[in-house]
C-alpha cells in the first residue's frame, strides 16, 4: 500500500503547488480593494498551502510507519472489475458530447456527438450483452426501452432537455 499512499499524497501536493503558483499574487502589495481586505488570492493560496503541508505529512507517515503489504487491488480480477465499469463510462460520456477539436476557423469532429439517447442505448445494450449475457432480444429490448422511458420521464415529464445527437441536427431522429 505504501507506494500508492505516497503517490496519492504526491499528486495532492502537485495540485497544491499549482494552486499556490496561480495564487502567488496573494503577496502583491496591491492585493485587496478595501482597507483590511486580504485580496482574492490570499484564501486559495493558504488553502492550497494547508493541503500541501497536510499531504507531505501523510506521505511522510506512509514512508515511516508500517504499511500493509497488499497492493491497491486484490488481484487482477478486482482491477478488471473496476475497469469494466470505468472505461465504458468514460467512453459513454465522450460519445454523448462527441470528440473533436476546434481551430479559429473550423471545428473538426472525430466522433460525432451521439447525444444522450443514442449513447445511452449503446451503453445499456453493451452491459446487457457483455456482462449480463442476455439473449439478443432482451438486449434489443433493454437498448430500446431505457432511452424511451428516460425520454418520456425527463424530456416530456420534467421538460429537461438532454443533449441531442448528430442525427437530430440533420433532422433524421427526434433525439
Amino acid at each position: 500500500m505504501r507506494p500508492y499512499q505516497v503517490a496519492t499524497a504526491a499528486a495532492i501536493v502537485m495540485i497544491a503547488a499549482v494552486a499556490m503558483f496561480d495564487s502567488r499574487a496573494a503577496f502583491s502589495p496591491s492585493a485587496g480593494t478595501q482597507v483590511g481586505d486580504v485580496g482574492a488570492r490570499w484564501y486559495p493560496f493558504w488553502a492550497a498551502a494547508i493541503m500541501g503541508v497536510a499531504s507531505v505529512v501523510v506521505a511522510y507517515r506512509a514512508l515511516t510507519t508500517p504499511q500493509g503489504t497488499e497492493g491497491a487491488f486484490e488481484g487482477a480480477r478486482s482491477l478488471f472489475a473496476v475497469l469494466k465499469l470505468a472505461v465504458p463510462m468514460l467512453v459513454y460520456a465522450l460519445l454523448i458530447a462527441g470528440v473533436g477539436f476546434r481551430t479559429t476557423d473550423f471545428t473538426y469532429s472525430i466522433v460525432p456527438p451521439f447525444g444522450f439517447y443514442l449513447a445511452t442505448a449503446l451503453y445499456m445494450g453493451l452491459f446487457a450483452w457483455w456482462l449480463g449475457r442476455y439473449k439478443i432480444w432482451w438486449v434489443a429490448a433493454i437498448t430500446i426501452a431505457f432511452p424511451i422511458v428516460i425520454f418520456a420521464v425527463f424530456e416530456i415529464g420534467f421538460r429537461v432537455s438532454l443533449p441531442k445527437s448528430f442525427l437530430y441536427t440533420s433532422g433524421l431522429l427526434p433525439f
Binding site: 496519492t8 484564501y43 488553502a47 492550497a48 468514460l90 456482462l131 421538460r159 429537461v160 443533449p163
Partner: protein
Amino acid sequence: MEVFGQLAGGFAVALHPINVAMLFVAVVLGLVIGVLPGLGGTSGVAILLPITVFIAHGSLPGSDATTAIIFLAGIYWGALFGGVITSILFNIPGEPWAVVLLFDGFPLAKRLGKPGLALASSFVSSFLGALVSTILFTFFALPIALKALEFGPAELFAVFVLSFATLIGLGAEAPMKSLAMLALGLLLAAVGFDTITGEQRLNFGQISLLSGISFVPVTIGLFGIGEILASAEEQGIGFVENISAKLGLRDVFEAVRELRKRLRLVLSNAIIGFFFGVLPGHGATAASFLGYGLARQYSKNKENFGKGEISGIMGPQAAADSAGVASLVPMITLGIPGSPTSAVIMAGLFIWGLQPGPVLFIQHPDFVWGLIASIYLGHLLTFILCLLAVPLLAMIMRVPYAIITPFIVVISIIGSYSLNNSMLDVFITVIFGLIGYWLRKMKYPLAPLVVALVLGDSTERELRKALIAGHGSPLYFFNSGLSTVLILLAVVLVAIPLIRTIRARRRGAAPPAAVAHP
C-alpha cells in the same frame, strides 16, 4: 408555546396534497435507494437534486420550494430505513449506516431464524429514535436560529472554523488526511470569480470555469459514481442469501415488547444521537457505531452481542435515525450541514434561491415549519411502508447487476447535466467519480471535502468581511466572547488527535480511531 402554533402551521403546509404526494414518492425512492448497495442516500439525494429545481419552480401543480425540500428530505428518511433491510436479510449493507446491523441483525435473521423480528426491531427503534430527534428539533431550532441572528462575521467565521475542526478532531481517518480533504474542498470552492473583488481565480484561462465548480456534479461523482465503482470491485451484487422477507403483525408486536424492555437504551441513544448528529460533518453513520458501542457497553448480556442480540439492532438504529434528523438542525438554523447528505440538501436551498441559516426562520417560516412537520409525517409514512413492503423491497436486490449498475451511471449523468445543461458538469462528475473511488480506497474521508466545498464561499466571505471590519487585524475575532470561545474550542478539537497520537506513542501503540466516518 409559540412553537405549537408554528408547528400547526407547518402541518397545514406539509399536508397540502402535492406535498403529501411528493413525500410519498420520495420515501419510496429513498427506500429503493437505501436497499440498492451501489447507491447511497447522499448520492441518491444529489442525483435527484436537479429534479427539485423544476419542483421548486412550480413545474408540478401547487409545488414550491417547500415541496422540493420535503421531497429531498423524504429520500433521506427512506434511505435511513431502507439501508438496513439488505443488511439484515442478505448480509449486504445498503447504506454505510447499516453496516453495524451486520453484527447482530443478520445473525438474528439467519442463525436464530427470526428475520421478521430483526426487521421489526430495527424499524420500531428507528421510528422512535427519529421521533425523539424530531421533537428535539422542533423545540431547539427556533432558539438556536434566534441566537444566530445576532451573529456578525466574526462569530459566523468562528462557527465555520469550529465545524471544520470537528471534522478533523472527531474523524476516524488520519487527521492529516481529513485536513487535506478539507483544504481541497475550500480550494475547489474558490475556483472562479471572487465575489468581493470580481477577480478570476484558479480557472487557468478556461471561461467555463469562471462561474466556479458546481457542488452537485462533484458530489454526484464522489458519492454516486465513486460508490458504484467501489461496489463493482467487490463484485457488486453477486450471491444473495435467500431468507424469507415476510414481516407479520406478530413480529411487530414482539418487537414492541422487546422495545419496552429496552426503552431506556433506545431513548438515551436517540438523545445522544441527536446531539451527535448536530455536530457538523458526522451524521448517521458515526452515530450508528457510537450507538452500538453504547448498547454493548451498558448491556448485561455482552456475550450475546454479535450473535443476534436485539439491543445490537435497536441501539444503533435509534442513534442513527436520530442523528440523521439532527443533521438538518445546524443546516437550517446556522447554514452549516450536519452531514454530507444535509450538505447536498443545503446546496438545494441555494439553487432554489433560499439562504440557509437563521434568516430562513424570519423570511420563510412556512418553509421551515413545513419541513419540520414533514419530518414527523415522513417517518410515520416510512415506518408504515417498511412494515408493508419489505418483500417487495427485498426483490430489488434481485435486479441484475448488468442493468442496475449502468442505470445508476445514466441517472447520475442526467442529474449532473440537467442542473446547468452543461457537458462540462458531466465530465466533472465522471472525473470526480474516479477521484472519489481512489480517495476512498486510500482511506481519505470524503465528508470534509463535501462540507468544505459547500461552505467554502461563505467561510471566505465572512473571514474577509471580519478582516475588513477589523481593518486587517486578526484580533477582531477575539473582540466577541462567543467567537473567542468557539475558536478556542476549535483549537482544542484539532489538538485532540495530536494528544491521542502522543499518548499512544508513549504507550507504544497505534493511536485509536475515535468514531467511524461516513
